[in-house]
Subunit: 338 residues, 2 copies
DNA sequence: TTGAAAGCGTTACCAT
DNA sequence: ATGGTAACGCTTTCAA
């Protein structure tokens, strides 16, 4: 039997037209809704198309001047769990919205080169999800006329849309919760200062402290391992009764160390994270944390994409997402929470 | 200023030609290496292009019949860590190889629909990385003339290239290592039978057992949580001295439960995983496991892509990857390992 | 070495 | 409602 698998050339509208005995125009219309076309005829065309495995070539359609629906997502190395979850959800959310996410990632040099080359596509937007680098990539995109959406870090640049979580407010609420629960000797495990989220979260912690001061403090790498190490280092200091961590990965690392060290959580030391990654909700960890809402982030990006498509020349905007304090057992102390 | 009509058109070769005072053909040649073009002229063109932010439109170039360099990656829900790591590395590896990976994911219905729609692009290949579903997606692709590369699960279908790790041999080596270390009462925590890897790994375990029989056995979901639950259930059975887990996520879940239960690893119970995800190598876990080599997988896929491009009509092939036993402390028992 | 012109597969705009 | 015919932006062939 002859079939498309034998064919080396891709089926075109002309092939379908020939097979169905109609014009190429009719084939095009059959695949576009809201066009005038005899119902029976459309049926016949669709059937013929199905038979030879035809569908409109997106390259040609995109060339035609329509929207390409192509979107690039620039992720860094995705060193921690949250980044991976966010990237996965973003890709999924985008293709639920009818967009095609092209992933760009890897170590700096490779990723940067790829990010530049991908601009040869008429992208609807470049989505930046990289903590540290990104600002220069953004500049290239803007120059090429490709809209930029920066997520997780605010890039002050003309025409760049930003979406960011309220790091400071979120952390403030979390630490306030610890204090209301009776914690007084708080140690802070911060993130790398190259990430804009790090100083913001730290500021939120200081806000909540009020008159209090941090018992101790150090800077981690947003990884579990660095949290583990940080906990060990900080435990030597004057006995803290709470560890506030700039993200969940470090908090879980710290938790692992504390358990090994025989420290009871939360009675000896309470623990607070930030992000609410999947693992944190798992009963064996049950970490109190501040939710960095991935679904809201994805929804906001989709919305931004839409608004930009409506008005390509609009001003860049900043969307701030609200966090949500998720109280779990790592902060559930004897003292009642109010 | 005057409204949305401010839209800036993307620069085209004609724009560059005008600016540099050359023909459109020359501009095209300037961006194609191995073409006849005066060096000084090429320089001038490239400069002009840089100035107005031009690069060849990949849509138009792809239409021309060249290779599109577009590749779709179909991932499932990526429920476990290994899937996420694999997907991230794959995307990165592909764009290091000059390919553009379009990610397709999400819950079954949405992902399936997207996978079908993405075929409107002249894809160089559809890469399937989904344990359970995928076979029917593969059929659609083949019908459309899009080559399929299945990773992690062998799809017996004309023209489908497969790449899979030697699950059985790997697990056999791992369990043999436990037995040499003195384990005799082995309990098995398996994966969901809908994944082809599950029965293979189990078979490898049985191979190594020789005359022995499993003390106990249950089926998990390849998630940490299911491993945790499985360990609790199995611990009630006649005291095992080893837990063999079908993947690392479950092994780490089991480890967490065992530690909570005060069981000493590996002295009371040894632990074996499969995959070697990042977390397993972290000192606080230090899980003995069988490496499911992501880098080799990515390299093989790139190679397969290349071979398929060379000969679109070639037979489908099966590449099997070797595992590597990674001995860590979760299996380091008193009895010397031979 | 260079420029003109012919496609590539669509969609959109014409007249029917 | 329908078929013919311009674009769309590029690469490649063909003459020069």
């Amino acid at each position: 039997m002859y079939g498309p698998s034998k064919r080396t050339r891709r089926a075109t509208a002309a092939d379908v037209a020939r097979l169905a005995g109609v014009s190429r125009s009719a084939v095009s219309r059959a695949f576009t809704k809201g066009t005038y076309l005899d119902a029976e005829k459309r049926e016949r065309i669709l059937l013929a198309a199905e038979e030879i495995g035809y569908r409109p070539n997106a390259l040609a359609a995109g060339l035609q001047g329509q929207q390409s629906n192509l979107v690039a997502i620039f992720v860094g190395d995705m060193p921690n769990q949250y980044d991976k979850e966010a990237a996965a959800s973003l890709a999924t959310g985008l293709n639920a919205a009818g967009k095609w996410p092209i992933m760009i990632g890897g170590s700096d040099a490779v990723a940067r080169a790829a990010a530049s080359r991908v601009l040869s596509f008429p992208l609807e937007a470049m989505i930046l999800r990289s903590g540290s680098l990104g600002a220069d990539v953004a500049a290239t995109c803007i120059k090429m006329g490709v809209p930029v959406i920066s997520s997780g870090r605010i890039i002050e640049q003309d025409g760049v849309d930003n979406i960011c979580v309220r790091n400071r407010e979120g952390m403030r609420e979390g630490v306030a919760h610890l204090i209301k629960g009776g914690c007084q000797r708080i140690a802070y495990i911060g993130g790398p200062s190259s990430f804009s989220s790090a100083p913001e979260r730290r500021a939120g912690c200081l806000d909540a402290l009020g008159g209090l001061e941090l018992i101790a403090e150090c800077e981690g790498l947003y990884t579990m391992e660095s949290g583990y190490d940080a906990a060990r280092a900080l435990l030597k200091e004057r006995r803290p009764d709470a560890f506030v961590c700039a993200n969940d990965a470090m908090a879980l690392g710290a938790m692992t160390y504390l358990r090994e060290a025989g420290v009871c959580i939360p009675d000896d030391i309470a623990l607070l994270g930030f992000d609410d990654i999947e693992m944190s909700g798992w009963p064996a960890f049950d970490l109190t944390t501040i939710r960095n809402p991935i679904d809201d982030m994805v929804a906001a990006i989709t919305e931004l994409l839409h608004r930009r498509a409506m008005d390509p020349a609009k001003e860049g905007e900043v969307i701030l997402l609200d966090t949500k304090l998720v109280k779990r057992s790592s902060s559930r102390r004897l003292l009642p929470d109010r």
